[in-house]
């Protein structure tokens, strides 16, 4: 009968020669603390990013697009902050991976865990959206005082002429047409003046000179044939 290999002797010899050592308890505590810290940062970041997505959609006026018919819904999906949402999804996966290191984590099926994380981020995001945090950050971004995510915030109040979406202040009204101008002081592509042809059936009495409006339509030579107008 073949003799069982002497693993014990080999391992104990390595231990005896000092080639293998027990890691101190502090090493494992530090590891757990690091995972918990990473988890907390990832959770906070995911809540923040999701709250930004919610804030951006309603602050930019893009939510109005959903009430502008099929064309509006299509434009809503084009303008949706997908990059921020994709970043949040990556964070969700990272959080799931981190909680799987704990017993309570791997005992939960992945779909249920991801749903829980999404729910947590969504509730947290809605709560943060109710606070003045994003409004204050938007003001800072407008004054070019917000590093890293400043561009995300600056994009909220931009017109998207290429996608047929305009924001501006009503400067004059004539019959079914009105003029808007947008100038946020940075002389970039979203600044300008446009003549808006109101959509059929639009109640012109609902807007007045000086109102900020959100307009969706197709532009040609400075005139926008609109399919949706909403006072901001």
């Amino acid at each position: 009968m073949p003799q069982e290999p002497d693993i014990k002797t080999k391992v104990l010899e390595k231990i005896g020669r000092g080639e293998v050592r027990r890691r101190p308890r502090a090493y494992f505590i530090a590891q757990v603390v690091m995972v918990i810290a990473l988890l907390a940062v990832a959770l906070a970041l995911s809540v923040f990013v999701l709250s930004f997505v919610i804030f951006s959609v309603h602050e930019s006026g893009e939510l109005f697009l959903l009430g502008f018919g099929q064309q509006g819904i299509a434009t809503f999906f084009v303008l949706f902050p997908w990059v921020a949402l994709a970043f949040d999804i990556v964070l969700f996966v990272a959080i799931e991976w981190l909680i799987r290191r704990f017993k309570f984590g791997y005992r939960i099926p992945i779909i249920r865990a991801l749903f829980g994380i999404l729910l947590f981020a969504l509730v947290g995001g809605i709560i943060i959206d109710l606070t003045p945090l994003h409004g204050a950050l938007l003001d800072k971004a407008d004054q070019n005082e917000l590093p890293i995510v400043g561009e995300w915030y600056e994009g909220i109040n931009e017109s998207h002429a290429g996608q047929g979406v305009f924001r501006g202040t009503v400067t004059s009204i004539q019959g079914d047409d009105f003029a808007i101008s947008h100038d946020d002081g940075d002389n970039d592509a979203d600044d300008g003046t446009w003549t808006i042809v109101a959509p059929l059936g639009f109640d012109m009495a609902s807007i007045a000179v000086g109102d900020d409006v959100y307009v969706a339509g197709s532009v040609a030579q400075g005139t926008v044939q609109s399919y949706g107008v909403q006072r901001l």
């Binding site: 069982e4 693993i7 014990k8 231990i15 308890r25 005992r107 779909i111």
Partner: protein
């Protein structure tokens, strides 16, 4: 405390090894080397490196012994280290693809650990496992080994594989079915 005393539990030995007792760790090696070699031989089906892999498992166990929570059982803890080592070895050898996406852990599955029919079937299954284990893919092979050969509980297997309890249940059922199907196709030799 005499670490060689058979009534001393693995957990008590691990606590001694967490201190400074290399002798207690030696007894743990004695207790587990046969089991881990058997587990490795079934799992990897390649005897060339199994001794080295198992030796590596004990070295990792020694390095990480102070992370062992003595209020829990030692056996699933060391099997978890062995599982990782064997999976890494499988990947290294590229002999069998080990999927990174495990669809069984995505959704919740009910667990039926104390299925009476299954328990009475256990002896018959063990014979079947001995005969047809080689025909199973790694994902089922391991769980079948842990349950029928190593005789670990569903909970212990769930802790080793880091999957929900329901996944152990569903994977075992599928493993059994796969084994029975494979055995039906296997030619009967004289």
């Amino acid at each position: 405390m005499d670490p060689h005393h058979p009534e001393i539990t693995d957990e008590a030995l691990a606590v001694s090894a967490q201190g400074n007792s290399d002798e207690a760790f030696g007894v743990l090696i004695e207790r587990y080397q046969g089991r881990l070699l058997r587990y490795g031989k079934r799992f990897l089906s390649d005897n060339d490196h199994i001794e080295d892999v198992v030796q590596g498992v004990f070295i990792q166990t020694y390095q990480n012994i102070r992370s062992f929570d003595a209020t829990r059982r030692f056996s699933p803890w060391i099997y978890r280290i062995a599982h990782n080592a064997f999976v890494n070895e499988l990947r290294r050898q590229h002999r069998e693809p080990v999927s990174f996406v495990d669809f069984d852990v995505l959704a919740a599955h009910p667990s039926h650990e104390h299925d009476l029919a299954e328990e009475t079937d256990k002896k018959a299954m063990r014979a079947l496992v001995e005969a047809g284990l080689e025909m199973l893919p790694a994902i089922y092979k391991e769980i079948i080994i842990l349950y029928y050969i190593e005789e670990l509980s569903y909970q212990e297997i769930a802790d080793i594989l880091r999957v929900p309890l329901g996944t152990v249940s569903v994977r075992l059922r599928r493993g059994r079915e796969a084994l029975k199907k494979a055995m039906e196709k296997k030619p009967i030799l004289p």
